[in-house]
Assembly symmetry: C4
Homo-oligomer: 211 residues x 4
């Protein structure tokens, strides 16, 4: 029955659409929750304007962590979005890999809060290692997504060339090793972690239009 096939194909198309919409929702909520790490300084009612200004200035680690995380999640969303343009239909595997990716994304406000809380203190090493590790897992999630689509031609759109896949792979393969470096580097200095994470989103922002 051709009409049935057409219906099924349309339904499958819609499937990807709703998965993308759901993923977008999770990305949008997670990125907005990052701002909950910006906390109002608790000063007494008699605090002067200068006291508040100083207290806000002392919170600089939270601004750094907020900005780094915001743009990293934003770029992850861009990459996710670019990737799903190649996907024709979902499978249980793809759903699972995407779920893992989303789960780790919702954990970014948590690891960002860790960095915010401890960046100026001796525990910064552990906080930044957890922060880096979160992105190691996220970049492995992206690698899994790509791997599934590379291995199973039925999951990708017919017009997706080997060249396009190679281009995505090339852009993404920097993720896991560099985030591992960012995690290990936390034990040298927390700024190694933040530097590498910032470098990566700047790099992806510059190359994101390529696919």
């Amino acid at each position: 029955m051709p009409s049935n096939t057409a219906l099924k194909s349309a339904a499958e198309e819609k499937d990807t659409g709703r998965l993308e919409a759901f993923s977008d929702g999770v990305f949008a909520v997670a990125i907005t929750l990052l701002a909950l790490d910006l906390q109002v300084p608790k000063l007494g009612n008699n605090a002067s304007a200068r006291d508040l200004a100083l207290a806000l200035a002392r919170q600089w680690p939270s601004y750094i962590a907020f900005i780094t995380s915001f743009f990293t999640v934003l770029i992850m969303w861009v990459n996710h979005h670019g990737f799903f343009k190649l996907v024709h239909r979902t499978s249980a595997r793809l759903l699972f890999a995407n779920g893992f990716l989303l789960m780790m994304t919702t954990a970014v406000p948590f690891s960002t809060a860790l960095v915010t809380q401890y960046l100026r203190f001796p525990a910064a090493m552990s906080a930044c290692a957890v922060y880096g590790a979160t992105f190691v897992l996220i970049s492995l999630g992206f690698s899994s997504l790509l791997h599934i689509v590379v291995k199973d031609p039925a999951t990708r759109k017919p017009d997706v060339t080997e060249e396009t896949l190679e281009c995505v792979r090339k852009s993404w393969r920097l993720g896991p090793p560099l985030y591992i470096l960012a995690t290990v580097g936390a034990f040298l200095s927390p700024y190694v972690t933040i530097g590498i994470c910032t470098g990566l989103w700047v790099y992806w922002a510059g190359t994101s239009r390529d696919f």
Copy 2:
């Protein structure tokens, strides 16, 4: 007036679409709020990196609860999504049953927080029983949705066969009895609850492509 009928039918179609979009929004926000249960350990400013690492390790119940809840809600979303592909138009009943389902879904971060807080302590039994009971109610919500669509052919799409409905019923009927078991089993050990809940989402993840 045929044009009026067409308009009405298009409006009805859009109805389901907007109900799905709203439900997706609620699922996406609820699943992201689960991460609020991951809390930054409150240590003094002088805590060492090792102290923070240990404090994070001691929080293992929150990671287990977070992962279990995340994938359970994700699979619920997949099932919800698969189900609404069969629905032609909404009714007051369907709206109410779906509302009940969404309400219980927004309560999952609460029952997850209960488990997170008490898993290592004597009160774990009650916490896990509430956790299990939340999913009993959610699975009954799913059963109601299916029941409404089975009883009222006007609510389902014309091409939905008895076979498809039977297939959904077969997949979902495990929910209520096993979640009841997970609730009662909490009084033996909290790990019975978590084990059954994990087993169920793994099972549904494996069979979710079937309809």
Copy 3:
């Protein structure tokens, strides 16, 4: 230029669509945030399972307030949704009235938390009066939306009849007086407020398919 007109009309159509999508997003986030009022009882680590069960049972006001607010916001979403099916294009006025409605909707978790916190205590009167007043303002927001569309035929779709508008008006006109009663009735008993609010969403749930 006819093509320009067509373009403009399509753009206007999309306008309503994006306003609806934005409103849906606000409704979905607000309804999910209601669950933040469900709080994990803070007991010591040695609390028994029975202690936790009792502490959860003592929180019954939060369950009542949560359920009442959830279904009221859900029905408000349904009414909002049904209403925008009649709207052809937005105006500055409609945007403002809708904005006021959304603002009050985002305040529902706050007034719900007030009821949750004080329902068992002497301050319940004030808490319930604020709760009722929130819905008085929301129902006035709905009345304004309807008033704008009734007064300005250019804002509504060409096929919307006087009969349809009358039907919406009839369904909604119960809102302001009954919510005012619920507000004033708080000073008799908080259960008057909760009873009227519950009665109203049940009534609207039963009649929501009518337009």
Copy 4:
């Protein structure tokens, strides 16, 4: 290959759509999180209804800040939405500028909470200066978006005239100088800041239908 071009063009069109949907999600979550600044007064269980009413009345700064921020973010969403109607396809630059705009938008609940907390106290100057500065950065974000689209004709739709761009520029150019005034004016009185911010959203609400 013409089919390839058509495909590419459709994909690009969808690009803008998904960027808009993601931005809408962030706006919707951020605007709803504003309500978290409305806090339940922490009174003892024996507090009378009058005590609670007085405590709620004393929170007037949070209502002012909430209303001002809500409508300002709403109008920003309207402007964002109107602007993207002119955009044909995204670029790395546009993505970055939009990301900056969204980041500052998610920070609005934080700067609103600052005002809420300190409006009645000596530190109000600093709180309101930060509040104003948030909107200075947001209005500069809008100016960047416009600048990118003005400079690069490839990013805008073919039917966008110079006149339309001029009209947007004229409407938006009040933003940066007046928000700078609102920031500096905080040192005269916090009400200068709130007055200018209110004046601006009222002005934009009145002129928003123009493009």
